[in-house]
């Protein structure tokens, strides 16, 4: 990529550390952004990307380290942060509108300027219509145009293509290239390998709040990039090999869960998953590949365009209540916003989903509750001062166990676990992993989602690999190795010829 890296870095970050409520989001991170480059910033959920961006833009003050800025920074977030009810032109010039002689806003000139400006970005929409009426892709383009017009030297694009149609992606990438030629420096956050390799010069990989790699993208094979993102931590390597985790302990029975053709554009497209009783099936893939969406589709929390979920051969209506009744339970990825009821006690959090069963004529039975809570607190070794303690006061690991107990109370047949060990300490992590194994041995069908490849390889009997919302492969037995998974995740981009027979036949991205 042609880049005249004339002057020094536009932004330089040295040894930056940032801690939130005891959790280290950034740990001694160095990062340098050279003038004129397109810099890819990648990493899984919770790796510290957003925090780093916020440190770069000055929203967060780092706890330690140094940040040097030599330019005007503008961020374009995934969710467009413009004013949807104002006109396109008004959004474009918000805060720096052209004025008339009397100091009033010169609407005629503003609208004419806006129309001309946007034509350069391939947008021909009526600039006087409200921004909200435009397609998401077009809105993103307006945000981009606005950033550039505001004389930004650096534009940060956070997952700009995650909700775009393939055609819109092409336009966006064209615009990014154009900006690049005009000398604007870009930080590009994305998980789409082919986009990164098509436009980026440099890459920085974050993992667990640390910068694990920075360098030219061209020199880094795709498979290695994926490997860096999903890599294992030191503690994990030591543990590996000593665990008897995940041996083949499921019987050769019929699947208890079958999901066929789950489609919810643009997130997932025709995903099939089946799990037998006693089996742990892992869902592998990068962030944004549709892992969480698949689980949500199975439990009925994601509106579907197509697809059916069968439990023991019977179709399940598409809503959470029906799915729960059919025996499906889901441990949500985000414990705080989708899991715990913070102001209720540990007891009430555990019995929440099973309340009707633990009451008579709608009146709750404390003795029944206490009995079942006591059983699970002991069995899952939940550390509480008393079951009446507020759940918000527990550590992450114990909260996770409380949620696990909530689901086990409902006596599910299928357990969907979305990142069950994220953000909990190493000890609790091993306990939760052992527990999952134990539950599967008792006959539960488990779907395990994890960003940590080793957790999947250790924990799962079979892996379904997702890529861009589609199943990229299924691995079991001897295929359950790091190499195979990485290949499946990176496949499309590793071998362009192969991708033609592969998926995406109808996608515009590959026809090029």
């Amino acid at each position: 990529m042609p880049t005249e890296t004339s002057a020094g870095p536009v932004i330089e970050v040295a040894g930056v550390t940032k801690t939130f409520a005891g959790v280290r989001a950034l740990d001694d991170v160095d990062f340098a952004l050279k003038r004129g480059e397109i810099h890819a910033l990648v990493g899984e959920n919770g790796a510290g990307k957003s925090t780093l961006i916020k440190v770069l833009t000055g929203i967060h003050t780092p706890d330690g380290g140094r940040v040097t800025r030599n330019g005007q920074i503008s961020t374009i977030y995934q969710e467009v942060n413009l004013v949807p009810l104002m006109s396109v032109a008004a959004n474009l010039f918000l805060g720096r509108e052209p004025r008339t002689r009397f100091g009033l806003i010169d609407r005629t000139r503003r609208d004419a300027d806006a129309a001309e400006l946007l034509r350069g970005y391939g947008i021909t929409a009526d600039v006087t219509s409200p921004l909200g009426t435009l397609a998401v892709g077009e809105q993103q383009m307006v945000a981009l145009a606005r950033a550039v017009e505001a004389d930004a030297d650096v534009v940060i694009m956070d997952e700009p293509t995650s909700s775009l149609e393939p055609r819109e992606v092409e336009t966006l990438l064209e615009v990014v290239r154009k900006l690049h030629q005009e000398g604007i420096t870009i930080i590009y956050v994305s998980h789409r390998m082919d986009e990164l390799y098509r436009i980026c010069d440099t890459v920085t990989v974050l993992r667990d709040g640390r910068n694990v790699h920075s360098g030219p993208l061209e020199e880094l094979p795709r498979i290695e990039l994926v490997s860096l993102m999903l890599g294992r931590s030191v503690g994990e390597i030591e543990k590996h090999g000593t665990t008897a985790f995940g041996e083949d302990h499921h019987a050769d029975t019929r699947p208890v869960l079958e999901a066929r053709g789950l489609t919810s554009t643009p997130r997932i497209n025709g995903v099939d998953v089946s799990i037998r009783p006693g089996e742990v099936v892992g869902l592998a893939g990068l962030l944004g590949s549709g892992r969480t969406e698949t689980a949500k589709a199975i439990i009925g929390a994601l509106p579907l365009d197509h697809g059916t979920v069968f439990v023991a051969g019977k179709p399940v209506p598409r809503n959470v209540k029906a799915a729960t009744r059919a025996g499906i339970s889901m441990l949500a990825e985000d414990r705080k916003t989708e899991g715990i009821i913070p102001n209720l006690s540990v007891r009430e959090n555990i019995v929440l989903a099973a309340l009707p069963r633990l009451s008579r004529f709608g009146v709750i039975s404390r003795s029944k509750q206490d009995r079942i809570v006591d059983t699970f607190v002991k069995r899952l070794r939940i550390k509480v001062s008393s079951p009446e303690q507020k759940v918000a006061e527990l550590s992450g690991g114990n909260q996770q166990k409380v949620l696990l107990a909530r689901w086990l109370c409902t006596e599910p047949r299928i357990l969907l676990l979305d990142e069950p060990t994220r953000g909990i300490d190493v000890g609790a992590k091993a306990e939760v992993q052992a527990l999952i194994d134990e539950l599967a041995r008792e006959g539960l069908a488990v779907l395990l989602i994890s960003s940590e490849l080793d957790e999947l390889l250790d924990g799962a009997d079979r892996l379904v690999v997702l890529r861009d919302g589609e199943v990229a492969g299924e691995l079991e037995g001897a295929q359950l190795t790091r190499e195979h998974v990485l290949k499946a995740i990176a496949a499309e981009v590793m071998d362009d010829a192969a991708s033609h027979q592969n998926r995406h036949q109808n996608s515009h991205q590959n026809s090029r």
Partner: protein, 322 residues
């Protein structure tokens, strides 16, 4: 050297937090006791049976509405239509009073139930924000009440119906007795039933409650319906006490009194917590404040400003909750 300093800091911080929490939980009780003591010393003829009776009779309709409001606020909602529902109940009474007071009361309650269910439908099924959804009925409900009553104030003469507002049972005014029983029932509902616990969970974290498979829509519709019925009961009692059906004035600004009582009683507007006893005391506190000011010959306008100050204080105390 830095370590002990930090330790003291944390200690002071936790102590402040503990004090704040104590005030959040018990502030309303302290305020009621303080106000009673003040009146015992400075107000003549305050500590008399007759006065307490008057205060309670005046507070009863507000309390009944506030109980429903507390439940709605517990789900992170609000019901602005309670005053209009009271007016609807008042307008319906004279239509059926000829067929006997029981039928008249029943029909008024049915009106409340319908109105509440309508609110619940808008909030839960259509997904309109509670403040907007119930605003529709705040405006339209009173309009409908005036249409039903033809804009007239109607004097009521049925002795059995009027007894509801004037007679005693077991030495207590009937309306006060009803309010007390309802408070106990609502407390039981919130703390001891599946419905109550689900309501609180939905208010605290709706997303998690949905993913836990709770019947979110059903609970929401139930809560608003209950709130509507309670408002109608309040409207019936207030009409009976007044001896006339007055849809133009019945329950005017009641929604604000009810919300005030609930908030002052320590139920957070952010949902996830319903304090029934706190609500009872919140109603009593606001009633006592007004009574005290009237007894000291301060005009109503001053009373309103003092009420405002109390609301700000209550919200200020509630602000630092974690």
């Amino acid at each position: 050297m830095t370590l002990p300093a930090t330790k003291t800091d944390t200690k002071t911080a936790t102590r402040t937090a503990a004090r704040t929490r104590w005030l959040q939980d018990n502030g309303v009780y302290v305020a009621v006791v303080a106000l009673l003591l003040f009146n015992a010393v400075f107000t003549s003829n305050f500590l008399t049976l007759g006065n307490f009776r008057t205060q309670l009779v005046q507070a009863a309709p507000v309390l009944i509405v506030a109980l429903g409001m507390a439940l709605v606020i517990g789900t992170e909602g609000v019901d602005l239509s309670v005053g209009a529902v009271m007016a609807l109940a008042a307008a319906i009474i004279p239509l059926y009073l000829g067929a006997g007071p029981l039928l008249a009361i029943l029909m008024a309650l049915v009106a409340g139930l319908t109105a509440g269910a309508f609110n619940g439908f808008l909030v839960a099924k259509v997904g309109i924000q509670p403040i907007v959804a119930t605003l529709a009925l705040l405006v339209g409900g009173r309009g409908l009440a005036l249409v039903i009553a033809d804009g007239q104030l109607v004097q009521l003469h049925d002795p059995a119906f009027l007894a509801l507002g004037t007679d005693d049972l077991l030495g207590l005014p009937i309306s006060v007795l009803i309010a007390a029983l309802l408070a106990i029932a609502i407390a039981g509902l919130t703390n001891r039933t599946t419905f109550g616990r689900q309501l609180v969970a939905i208010g605290d974290n709706r997303k998690a409650a949905t993913l836990a498979g709770l019947p979110v829509n059903r609970v929401l519709v139930g809560v608003y319906t209950l709130c509507g019925v309670l408002a109608a009961i309040s409207g019936v009692l207030a009409t009976s006490r007044l001896g006339a059906s007055d849809p133009a004035d019945m329950g005017l600004l009641m929604e604000l009194s009810a919300i005030t009582a609930v908030v002052v009683g320590g139920t957070p507007l952010t949902g996830g917590k319903v304090r029934v006893l706190g609500t009872v005391f919140g109603v009593i506190l606001m009633q006592l404040v007004r009574a005290t000011l009237i007894k000291h010959n301060l005009p109503d306008s001053i009373a309103q400003m003092i009420q405002a100050a109390i609301i700000v204080a209550a919200v200020y105390v509630a602000r630092e909750r974690r």
